[in-house]
Subunit: 246 residues, 2 copies
DNA sequence: AAGTGGTCTAGACCACTTT
DNA sequence: AAGTGGTCTAGACCACTTC
């Protein structure tokens, strides 16, 4: 990051917008990694040759977008999936009674394959590019509840193993962060109700044709780069998908 | 609203927070109604005896909470469900192909009743208080798709009729705003998959036990006051519930 | 005591809308 | 031209954390 990228001529976008972009580039490039401290507002103001207030506005917006976290007296940190507060923001399935917990994970299958044209388009890679695919069963207190098919771009997730996925406790995205230097920041989901087929009903230990919640998720990292495509089937007998509309 | 409510002694909360509260009271009391212009930043600054920047910060937060809308050169307006942009924020069911549209509405039943203890608790009223209940079928292009049971606090929705609900085009919340002076600002939803029973399968013209998306919604107006409880069943054959996680 | 973010002020100028 | 919100600055002081 260098200060020469700031353009004060009036033709261009507001200074705080340019600074937002520069900070985001620092996040994207890995100059500042999740959990780390970024320079203080004054440091950045000097570096960019703007006032502290302008840097503040840039950081304000980035923290309202959940990319940064401010801590009074300490400094400003890169947001991370390791923070307890974030842990459950992307796990939308909550028990009808009691507190949310993390499920046990069993990897039924994991393989490396080449992207079909469909998967390539979804993950914004080229057909034939390497893809990591896995099929996962998750249980709460021993009750099979979530069945996921997951596709990841192979170039990013080299060396991902079933063992690592099963042993990791906490959000999968914290694993992505720690081991693959990839921070998931945003996801789109499509939800519908479907009937269980034979394979699924056996794995989830439910009757054939039982209603299941189908959740398709496309997750992104910085710069709208897709990092995960997921097709999930969830038993909502004692769990529900929750959402807040604002 | 009066300026004497501002307390500059350091024991109290930040000035902009106090101003946020005062503005929200103005919204709640109906002093400024949806779609209307509120006083300019300078006017409010003078009225509250603070600087314009402090008022700005208060308004900034209220507009990021979707309570106010700023328009450069024009002023700051109370957010409204009549704005095209807001129309689809609370209708989460989108067609798999094509653009979102508003469904046709048929009211199957509408009655006034007394709140059971369960409904009373949900709507934060007293058991026995009046409640408006209706049962509604909505169709897209003639295809029955959404079946809702809706409970409203009777004290607020006096005079609501089936005819009015059926004739209104656009969001139900815009009707609430115009005719009942009640602005819905936020909702919580619980989503699950269920099987269609006999009644439902007939109304929605689908096989018995077909999977349906069940969506329970509790909607609030200012000050976390519940204004609507809804139990919906949706056919997700050609529609899906969409969501963004951030 | 020094450094960080958090609040508040006063004033300048810009961009957009209305009169 | 006048009024609105939008950007930017410079400086003051507060609250919290660390040394």
């Amino acid at each position: 990051m260098n200060s020469t990228s700031i353009d004060k001529s009036p033709t261009f976008s507001p200074l705080y917008q340019q600074i937002k972009t520069l900070i985001m580039q620092g996040l994207q490039s890995g100059e500042w990694r999740p959990g780390e401290l970024i320079p203080s507002e004054m440091d950045l103001a000097v570096r960019f040759k703007v006032s502290q207030g302008t840097v503040r506005k840039a950081i304000d917006e980035l923290s309202s977008e959940n990319l940064l976290v401010r801590r009074q007296g300490k400094g400003t940190f890169v947001a991370s999936h390791h923070e307890p507060h974030v842990e459950f923001r992307f796990l939308r399935l909550k028990p009808d009674v009691g507190e949310a917990t993390y499920p046990q994970t069993r990897i039924i299958e994991l393989k490396r394959l080449r992207a079909s044209s469909e998967i390539a388009q979804i993950l914004a890679i080229r057909p034939g590019d390497p893809v990591v695919y896995f099929y996962r069963l998750q249980s709460f207190d021993g009750v099979p509840t979530m069945l996921d098919e997951i596709w990841l771009p192979g170039a990013v997730f080299k060396g991902l193993s079933a063992k690592r996925l099963e042993e990791h406790t906490g959000s999968m995205y914290s694993l992505f962060e720690t081991e693959f230097n990839t921070r998931m920041i945003r996801a789109l989901e499509n939800v519908r109700a479907v009937a269980a087929d034979d394979t699924v009903s056996e794995l989830l230990n439910i009757p054939r044709n039982a209603p299941l919640l189908s959740v398709e998720r496309l997750a992104y990292t910085y710069a709208d780069q897709p990092v995960e495509f997921r097709k999930g089937l969830y038993v909502t007998e004692h769990f529900h998908y929750f959402n807040e509309l604002t």
